[in-house]
């Protein structure tokens, strides 16, 4: 069975790598669409080969290592950033089991019973790469980028973790396969816990350093942040890691909140599973791109304030509401009591929004 795993792992890695290529293309075309221009349309039909041209360019670029950099760490940190972003995808189920040549194959590389813990721990490793890159470059901008990244990670990992807890409570399991199957019985968790889904999305943006939380690489402030001193393929690895994390984290969000591979007819045609996943991921990615095209960046200290003073209390409230709803439904024996979860969480979210709004109208802010 080792061959099965090997082949599945290879397929997954290549899908992610090519997905990265097309994600850059997708992002550039979508941004161009929003900004009333054309975007890359020269290399290949409609510019579809653009990512290949970019990759070739980056590979042949000269790689510079600063004289005073800590060479070993400088070399290792792109790898430390890149590897987790691929490995993390191992536990994501892409579809129901398929039967091929008389054998049943599962459409995931591994089904760990503590899948969510695995996700959390692997996702946190990537930040080491960023911090070490910032520190080893011996550059002030890079250093600030690294520091920002670690501070941001600590603030937002908590919210992310609590959003996971909401899902675990509803599914009763930490295995991603079982979470998807649990959504088959009730409905998408995004319907039961809409605020949780939004919270997860926001925390995700911070996790993958996307706009408006791209503090570690804020171009206007600290040039390119932690990868200021990187060039050529080393830089490309950081870039790749960021975009693969985008794909993977959208896949996770699909799995947790939007029913994963579930969709009409997926039981009869299990091959539809990956297709449904892809569609959902592309839609979620579009939201990330849309946010990038529309909003300016939040200032660093306000980002922290938002994370600790709004996101964390709200996440705690959501966990409490979810647990209460489930407990009520269980003790009273009436599953319809679950309906208080969306109602109460929407109220909590509304209150949080009001608080943010009020804090913005304040003239001075720490």
């Amino acid at each position: 069975m080792i061959w099965e795993w090997l082949i599945k792992a290879l397929v997954l890695i290549f899908t992610l790598l090519i997905g990265f290529g097309y994600l850059t293309y997708y992002e550039r075309r979508a941004l161009a669409f929003i900004q009333s221009r054309l975007g890359p349309n020269r290399a290949g039909p409609q510019g579809l080969m653009q990512w290949m041209a970019d990759a070739v360019k980056l590979i042949f670029k000269e790689e510079l290592t600063p004289d005073n950099a800590y060479k070993l760490v400088f070399f290792l940190s792109p790898v430390v950033t890149m590897v987790p972003s691929i490995v993390i995808a191992a536990v994501i189920p892409w579809g129901p089991p398929v039967t091929l040549f008389g054998q049943t194959f599962n459409q995931y590389v591994a089904d760990i019973n503590v899948g969510i813990l695995y996700l959390m721990s692997i996702a946190s490793i990537a930040v080491y790469g960023i911090v070490l890159a910032g520190w080893s470059s011996n550059n002030k901008y890079a250093m600030m980028g690294g520091l920002r990244s670690s501070a941001q990670m600590i603030s937002y990992e908590l919210t992310l973790g609590l959003s996971f807890v909401v899902v675990i409570l509803m599914a009763g399991s930490m295995s991603l396969v079982e979470i998807v199957e649990a959504q088959r019985e009730v409905t998408w968790f995004a319907v039961i816990q809409p605020v949780g889904a939004i919270l997860f999305f926001i925390a995700t943006l911070a996790e993958v350093n996307r706009h408006p939380f791209d503090m570690p690489e804020a171009e206007q402030e600290i040039v390119a942040g932690y990868h200021t001193e990187y060039s050529g393929m080393k830089f490309a690895l950081f870039f790749m890691a960021e975009y693969q994390k985008m794909i993977v984290i959208s896949a996770i969000m699909t799995t947790l909140f939007f029913g994963g591979y579930l969709g009409p007819g997926v039981d009869r045609f299990p091959w539809l599973g990956p297709l449904y996943m892809a569609i959902k991921i592309i839609i979620l990615l579009f939201f990330m791109i849309w946010v990038r095209a529309s909003w300016p960046r939040i200032r660093y200290n306000r980002l922290m304030a938002f994370g600790w003073k709004v996101m964390l209390p709200l996440a705690l409230a959501l966990v409490f509401i979810t647990a209460t709803g489930i407990l009520l439904a269980d003790t009273m024996g009436n599953p319809w009591l679950m309906a208080i979860i969306p109602v109460l969480s929407l109220i909590a979210g509304w209150i949080a929004t009001l608080m943010v709004d009020r804090s913005l109208r304040r003239k001075s802010y720490a």
Partner: protein, 581 residues
């Protein structure tokens, strides 16, 4: 709209007998103040006569008279004409003049510039270092006896350029390595930046290592620029940071310095016109106007009606496109990924189409002439302008308003940050939208109308907060006011000639001095021109708003975050072509 008039006639020589005399040279106005009494006179003018805004300080080298002169132009923020006063010093090093920084802090960078270019030492200046040229520069380039590399003649056209019709390159006569002079004992090969940089770094206010909560922290010194994505060119700011908070800051400029003013003194009067385009390359139309105004004052020539109207139309279109592009680039500085900038570019292209139609060039227009304009409006252009002004632009300004003004992140980033009180703004000689955002309704179009601005009905836009959000709102509303002026100007556009007399290459400019100032989109743009009756100006000085508005940069940034510094630099609206000249 009545022109504010100066009611009291001020006789400074009676007030300070012996120390102040009227400037009696033909074509000159103002007062000549004795150096020792300068601070007293300045304090009197500011405190008792209300000349609170020091518009410009500049030097003039009167080589034949063996005199160095420092010229001050002060205005009242309540409007009306200004007062010129001058300090003369014998042209023997060291030339010393007391610094007026204690009275008008806005003189800070300008006095440094005079020290740099003329070698006038300002006693009492807090930080007198070179500003535009580099630290190892030999001599003071604006002095009349300073000769530049490849020096040919004092004034253009250089006859040596085509002896017997053959063009000879200057480089052929000056082999490489022979064209730069250095101070005695200065070797550029061995020069390191340590010592001059030391002067810069020590000029920063360092704070003590102990902080209030008892934890010892260290500050870091960060050079923002000269190569930095958000300094709008090769501008550099040396910043001391405590974590992310700015503790101290000094701007460093001059990376794009080309000694525009020296070039201007070599050129003939008309040859300077295209050079003014390159100052603030977004607004070549208004740059042209300021220079034309100064020279027209000297020549005493009137501008025909039609030309005046077209000038207003072009200047206001220029203001709209400047503010549009400012809005877009400002949002870029805040981290929005180019969407607002590209939306702004879309409208700007349409305005540039009009400039191209009238002037032949989209950015370097070179459209104004002394006493009129280069060309009339081509056929169909007025319709295009009408389409833009009456239909498209108003809707687009509203769209910007709708998309941006209430955006939570924008409000959070801009509101309450980098507050500048009206007193400080005036003291630091801030002009333009930054000053009006602080609550001072000072707009030269209204304070001392030039051209035909006294005929139009428009509001001087002000805000009271003085923060970055107020600056944004002022610029947004100014676009609407510009549209209002444009509508009136288009309605009133008469037929007729566009230039007084016939166009000529060589204008005859009588001897004298003149200061022409306009309300450029970025602030007060002034041209101080002295003619001695020859084909070239004896002195040609540009009072650049981008440059002088930076005087208060440190005051605005200290205490803010590093991200705020970028935004503050954005809200001041600088252009490096004008800043470094």
């Amino acid at each position: 709209m009545a022109t504010p008039t100066l009611t009291e006639t001020l006789d400074l020589s009676a007030k300070f007998p012996g120390a102040v005399t009227a400037d009696a040279r033909p074509g000159y106005t103002g007062w000549i103040v004795e150096a020792g009494k300068l601070l007293e006179v300045a304090a009197f003018l500011r405190d008792e006569m209300g000349y609170d805004l020091l518009s410009s300080v500049t030097g003039v080298d009167y080589l034949p008279d063996e005199k160095m002169e420092v010229v001050y132009q002060a205005y009242k923020t309540t409007g009306g004409p200004g007062i010129f006063f001058k300090v003369q010093a014998p042209r023997l090093d060291p030339i010393e003049v007391p610094s007026v920084v204690p009275i008008w802090p806005g003189a800070d960078l300008q006095e440094r510039e005079i020290w740099d270019l003329y070698g006038v030492k300002f006693t009492g200046h807090p930080d007198l270092r070179r500003i535009l040229t580099w630290e190892g520069f030999s001599g003071h380039p604006m002095r009349k006896d300073w000769k530049e590399a490849f020096y040919e003649e004092d004034a253009k056209p250089f006859k040596s350029r085509w002896p017997e019709g053959r063009i000879k390159m200057a480089e052929e006569r000056n082999p490489f390595g022979d064209n730069v002079t250095f101070d005695e004992g200065f070797d550029p090969e061995k020069w390191t930046s340590n010592d001059p940089e030391e002067a810069l770094y020590t000029s920063l206010k360092k704070y003590t290592a102990e902080t209030s909560d008892g934890i010892k922290t260290d500050h870091i010194l960060v050079n923002m620029g000269p190569q930095h994505p958000s300094t709008h060119g090769v501008f550099r700011a040396v910043v001391i940071l405590d974590g992310e908070t700015v503790v101290s800051l000094k701007p460093v400029m001059g990376y794009l310095h080309r000694n525009h003013e020296k070039i201007g003194e070599r050129n003939t009067f008309l040859q300077n016109m295209p050079y003014t385009d390159r100052l603030d390359y977004f607004n070549s139309m208004s740059n042209n106007w300021g220079y034309a105004l100064a020279v027209e004052k000297l020549m005493g020539v009137a501008v025909p009606e039609r030309a005046e109207y077209i000038r207003v139309i072009m200047a206001e279109l220029s203001r709209i496109q400047n503010h549009l592009i400012w809005t877009g680039m400002m949002l870029n500085d805040l981290g929005a990924y180019f969407t607002p900038a590209l939306y702004a570019f879309e409208e700007r292209e349409l305005i540039l189409d009009i400039f191209e139609a009238v002037a032949g060039s989209r950015m370097m227009c070179n459209y104004f002439r002394f006493g009129g304009l280069a060309r009339d409006l081509p056929e169909g252009t007025l319709e295009k302008i009408k389409d833009l002004v009456f239909d498209r632009l108003a809707a687009k300004v509203d769209e910007f308003d709708r998309l941006l003004t209430e955006n939570e992140i924008l409000v959070a980033r801009l509101k309450g940050i980098s507050k500048l009180s009206p007193e400080d703004a005036v003291a630091y000689s801030m002009t333009g939208p930054v000053l009006r955002a602080a609550g001072v309704p000072y707009d030269i179009r209204r304070a001392e109308p030039y051209g035909i601005y006294d005929r139009f009905d428009f509001d001087v836009v002000t805000q009271t907060d003085g923060d970055m959000y107020a600056r944004y709102l002022v610029r947004l509303e100014e676009m609407r006011q510009s549209l209002r002026i444009l509508r009136q100007a288009i309605a009133g556009l008469p037929e007729g000639p566009i230039i007084t007399g016939k166009p000529q290459y060589q204008v005859r400019v009588p001897a004298g001095e003149a200061y022409g100032r306009i309300e450029a989109p970025k602030g007060e743009l002034g041209y101080y021109v002295i003619s001695n009756g020859k084909p070239n100006p004896w002195r040609y000085h540009v009072r650049a708003p981008s440059f002088i508005n930076l005087t208060a940069l440190e005051k605005m940034c200290v205490g803010g975050k590093i991200a705020d510094f970028v935004a503050i630099l954005g809200t001041i609206d600088i252009v490096l072509g004008e800043l470094d000249r």
